[in-house]
Symmetry: C2
């Protein structure tokens, strides 16, 4: 490669670069994909942050490094990162591995393009993928876009609902509008609150609707709260339902909520970031009965469908080009009208972003690889594995479910031997609350398992396992239970 | 792989998957990285959208496809996509290729993790990269985060400025606040307008500040407009300056604007999405003199530094944890306090997103590979190439610069032979306006070159070339000029 002033040569040596990339690919394959999915290897290699910073030698310096050192860095980053593809990673609502999706992601990165102007392949592909997803919702037409995560999708819903009711919000701001109120359940995702704050609506204007024991929004409470808000002179405009809540995996009763929304003429949004994938399954899609009556849906395909972070579809029933009207800006340098092709291909103006990542290719390629049937099978499989796990938990001692799982979340307490039969003791709850954090610390430090825990309302710390990876089989479920017992039986 | 009910086996066949991935990697290397950077190959393979949809066979079906067909799809997507890494792609403010960054991106995709809880490697790495970038801004402390694009970074600035002045905005919404006004130049990026609309402030409350002929904000006009707004009873709260405007590549005079912001106690934000990279260059960082006086900076490392879409840093001078206070939500299931490690590692709550992509690894690895010196060299090289191009344009006939380039944007009209010397004709401007679109259509259909065009104010359609790729050498500049002449000399 040339120095800065030698204009005859490029600054990049292609042969060197290709060699690095080939070697890096081998390391990624070995360290992340092979070892990372091998149950004999660790899920994580825990180090104290100070020690980790030293090991990784993070400091950025003036001069570059030779290839062998850079490859060692690739290896180190892989080694000390959590293996979300590992069959014993039950910690998050993403994880698992799909080779076809990953191939699509490598291609996306290499192509390094954005969805707007002059990327006709991805404009067309995104439209087709969104069409396929809308079809599962039950809509023969409509609109949609891929967003950088479910939180942003939920914000889109809030912004569109507001704009539909008061188009002047876009130019004049909220000062020209009456006080707006939106509704969501106590157990909905915190992004609804974050979105309300970000969009200038304020968290006080998000009304929390009661849930039943299983975590489902109670439509009667919703109806009452809407009427109360109206009687106080504020303007209800949106209900954000949840299909698959974060902790319990509950599906709000969409059909009943749709009745309430119709009655009060409110925008019905469904945050199906986690649960949406049941729509692929003939057997389980009833959980979202009524979804076709929604105005908008947020659905993260990087969760149960393992499309890879991130792949968040925002789907819209609207056919009046509401999203473009709401989000567009005049930018003659970007959206010229004197192009030689159909300017409707310039979909960039539907987004509040400018250069928007290509998130459709990985999903499209995976869908092509296994078909809708294959994706349905993965969803069905999750339910079967959860059923197996729950049956095993009932046979074993010391595993107490919060409730029967409705979906892929299994919430339970591990009751160590010393606490069994002591439910009546005054300090029982305090002691139980300390069990999960200790087991979690042990599993992380030993690197054998990852599962999350949290309290919920008056329920002290419990484990929440999420089942989603297509790599899972029965022996991983058995391992999970054995390992929790091994880690906690002396507590 | 098993069927759905056979719980003894996984649904995924690792050997098949690995094979597919290896073959896909070979195709990506050959089709995108080798052919895509080969000047003897096309930049794009234009097809009419209808024809393209047929060629790609986009439809999603119930059943899956065999490996050979999927690999053909990888090949087809690569073939018909625009090659943004091609040395004759001058169309956007991204493009080029860096092999180390790309290796980091493949690793990021394979690891499939998000920056929050339990990804200590990336929490620490992001902090180090942000520290390095802040140091270039001139701050020894501060805060920051990677955002999904510069538009979102600009929104963060607006939201933080609003929150700092009126913390009650977060809970009560804008109804509790006086009318807020922000200022940006006529030639700033449209995302400032989009952000104001999205955040509930409204586009009417964005005041457009005049620019000089070169596209720089005029500080005196800013000062006057702020005083006018105050006299009308509204509350100015933010000035969004631009370092490197989209069309002309102009750098607003930051030091003079900082004086105005100090005088009126306004938040000074700098949208340096495009221009920020000059901070690496000792020779050219003077263009951003005064940047250290800003409150926040948006800087896209996927633009001139070729880190790959996307890599958008939002940098903040604040040391009071303003971003976390502004964006946090209470989510006990995510941000428990009884963890065995320092809960300050849980930086997720600084973001309005939940699962946030890892955008730091690719930049970190590239920075390690070539050092700050190597990145500075790339920036210096851009200026040298632009200088060479401009000198050649002055020697040749029919190439008219709008103005001397200040940065990496070269704005010019191609005057075809038939229009030369006809500047006085009544239809001259009309005819000139039609030249760029025709040349653009020809270059796209022949696939030889990509460069954008647009009008600006009373200036009819002109070409805007952006120079950024480290692959470029003098012969690509020569090719560019020859090709524009070849495509337009009969007009």
């Amino acid at each position: 490669p040339a120095n800065c002033y030698d204009l005859n040569e490029s600054l990049v040596d292609h042969a060197e670069g290709q060699h690095f990339l080939n070697e890096a690919f081998k390391i990624i394959t070995e360290e992340v994909l092979c070892k990372g999915t091998d149950v004999k290897q660790k899920v994580c290699e825990w180090k104290e942050p100070d020690e980790l910073a030293l090991l990784l030698d993070l400091e950025l310096r003036a001069t570059g490094e030779p290839e062998h050192r850079l490859l060692q860095r690739v290896k180190d980053v892989a080694k000390y990162s959590v293996k979300t593809c590992h069959p014993h990673f039950f910690n998050q609502q993403f994880g698992g591995l799909d080779y076809h999706s990953l191939g699509g992601r490598f291609l996306t990165e290499a192509l390094n393009t954005a969805i707007y102007e002059l990327s006709p392949v991805f404009v067309l592909m995104e439209a087709e993928v969104l069409r396929g997803l809308r079809q599962l919702v039950g809509w023969t037409e409509g609109d949609g876009i891929f967003c950088p995560g479910g939180s942003v999708s939920n914000m889109y819903a809030i912004n569109l609902a507001r704009y539909q009711l008061f188009p002047e919000a876009k130019s004049k701001g909220l000062w020209s509008l009456p006080q707006l109120i939106l509704f969501t359940s106590q157990e909905s995702h915190f992004s609804v609150m974050k979105g309300a704050a970000f969009l200038g609506i304020g968290t006080d204007n998000v009304i929390s609707v009661k849930v039943d024991e299983g975590g489902h929004m109670i439509p009667e409470d919703l109806d009452e709260k809407i009427m109360l808000v109206k009687s106080q002179g504020a303007v209800p405009f949106l209900v954000s339902c949840t299909s698959g809540t974060t902790v319990q995996g509950a599906f709000d009763p969409l059909d009943l909520i749709a009745d309430v929304c119709e009655k009060h003429k409110l925008w019905m949004h469904v945050d199906a970031a986690w649960g949406g994938s049941v729509l692929f399954s003939k057997q389980h899609r009833h959980l979202m009965k009524g979804i076709d009556r929604a105005n908008s849906v947020a659905w993260n395909l990087h969760k149960m469908l393992v499309a890879g972070l991130q792949c968040s579809a925002f789907l819209l029933k609207d056919t009046t080009n509401l999203m473009k009207q709401c989000h567009s800006a005049t930018a003659t340098y970007l959206f010229q009208q004197d192009k030689f092709y159909d300017v409707n291909l310039d979909i960039g103006n539907k987004s509040v972003q400018c250069s928007r990542r290509v998130d459709c290719l990985k999903l499209w390629l995976m869908w092509k690889a296994v078909g809708s049937n294959g994706l349905a099978e993965r969803v069905d499989r999750v339910f079967i594995l959860v059923r197996y796990l729950v049956e095993q938990m009932k046979i074993r001692e010391g595993l107490l479910l919060l409730h029967e799982p409705e979906f892929a979340n299994v919430c339970f307490w591990y009751i160590p031997p010393s606490l069994r039969g002591k439910e009546g003791n005054a300090d029982y709850q305090d002691k139980l609350a300390k069990v999960a954090p200790v087991i979690k610390e042990r599993m992380m430090k030993q690197g054998t398992l990852m599962v999350s825990y949290q309290p919920l309302g008056n329920k002290v710390n419990f484990f929440r396992l999420t089942v989603l990876s297509p790599l899972l089989s029965q022996k991983d479920m058995d391992f999970f239970l054995n390992e929790i017992e091994r880690l906690g039986n002396d507590l």
